[in-house]
Symmetry: C2
Subunit: 218 residues, 2 copies
């Protein structure tokens, strides 16, 4: 259905593997809960749900960041990240994202995670980082989990000739950043899929929205 | 940050409530697994993950449907649904979606779910329903679960004067359909949030992509 896909460079993350999967009895981070609920007809019913044990004080688990990189002479771009995710058993393509630390606001967490995972932020970008939108609190998969998140949009003003910044990763964290033209995001994600990577559903929907707007609404 | 929000009608779903949440020992639908994995540095590590026990033979849990309603004289629209979701403890706003039945392809499941949840499909729409895109297999929340899904885009050709079809819900299923102009989807979701509803993260990202395309790329 698509034209030729863009050339994307495979990850050079090194090799990681899942060796064994077993049923877990004493979870530390995640738990299963039984919800007893009453439906619209007054009938008592049960629902099984997975929850994080670490939800922030504000009741929001995580933020994802759509960072719009505004360059004087290049097309508007967005940094996406590649990382091995054990639940997917392979490399995932995602927006920069992370859990909200205790007592952080979602916006502060978004600015911090963007700096840590991509390098955009900190002193070098003083006055050139602006949170332009903070979305509602959205459940990630409300049929199955209580996990929720906020999508925060941040504008980053770049300068001509400026080098791509370095991420500030923790030891043992392996992430690769790919700055991608926003207009071609959907085609790039398709190209990463061809390499066998798993595109996060939320990033896929974001790119599909951009693509649909071009094809049906312009 | 936004202009006046559109008027959206509150759901008339009736009242449903979550009465109790307790730790679950013998789950039927969901389970917690421990993954033993080796990271890129060769270090053995653990990851906790929630999985559905019901993943389809094809290895894909679910489909969501972006149904583009093409009307001769009205703007391009998309049906979204309102339903009470116990994990969110309230009414969620989502794309039509559902689990893939055994031996169904994702595209067949998408056409079936669209008919069941919104009424678009079946004999009355013979020859006017077309699957135009079937996205990759995308993990819904790859830091926490193995759940995955496909976004399927379906074009529906409407006729002038045609009435909105009736959903074909199972007994005990309570869903309301809202046909929403695609161009205004993001503003409508913000209006539903003001009513206290929870917008699914994937639908939010889809609408945010459409909105970003308008504001930054046109």
């Amino acid at each position: 259905m698509s034209a030729a896909l863009p050339q994307v460079k495979p990850a050079s993350l090194g090799k990681a593997t899942v060796n064994k999967s077993s049923v877990l009895d004493s979870p530390r981070w995640v738990e299963l809960r039984k919800l007893e609920w009453t439906d619209e007809d007054g009938k008592d019913r049960l629902w099984e749900v997975a929850s994080r044990k670490t939800t922030s004080k504000g009741g929001i688990d995580a933020v994802a960041i759509a960072a719009l990189l505004k360059h004087p002479s290049r097309p508007l771009s967005i940094p996406i990240i590649l990382q091995f995710r054990p639940p997917a058993g392979g490399i995932c393509v995602e927006l920069p994202a992370g859990l909200i630390d205790e007592s952080e606001t979602p916006e502060v967490a978004a600015v911090r995670e963007l700096l840590e995972e991509t390098g955009y932020g900190g002193e070098a970008f003083e006055g050139r980082i602006k949170v332009v939108e903070s979305g509602g609190t959205t459940p990630s998969d409300p049929g199955m989990t209580t996990a929720n998140m906020k999508l925060v949009t941040i504008e980053v003003q770049l300068k001509e000739g400026e080098e791509e910044p370095k991420a500030q990763l923790d030891e043992g964290e392996h992430i690769e950043v790919r700055v991608t033209p926003l207009k071609e995001l959907y085609a790039h994600l398709q190209a990463y899929e061809k390499l066998g990577y798993h595109v996060d559903a939320r990033l896929h929907h974001y790119a599909a929205g951009i693509d649909i707007a071009h094809r049906y609404l312009s």
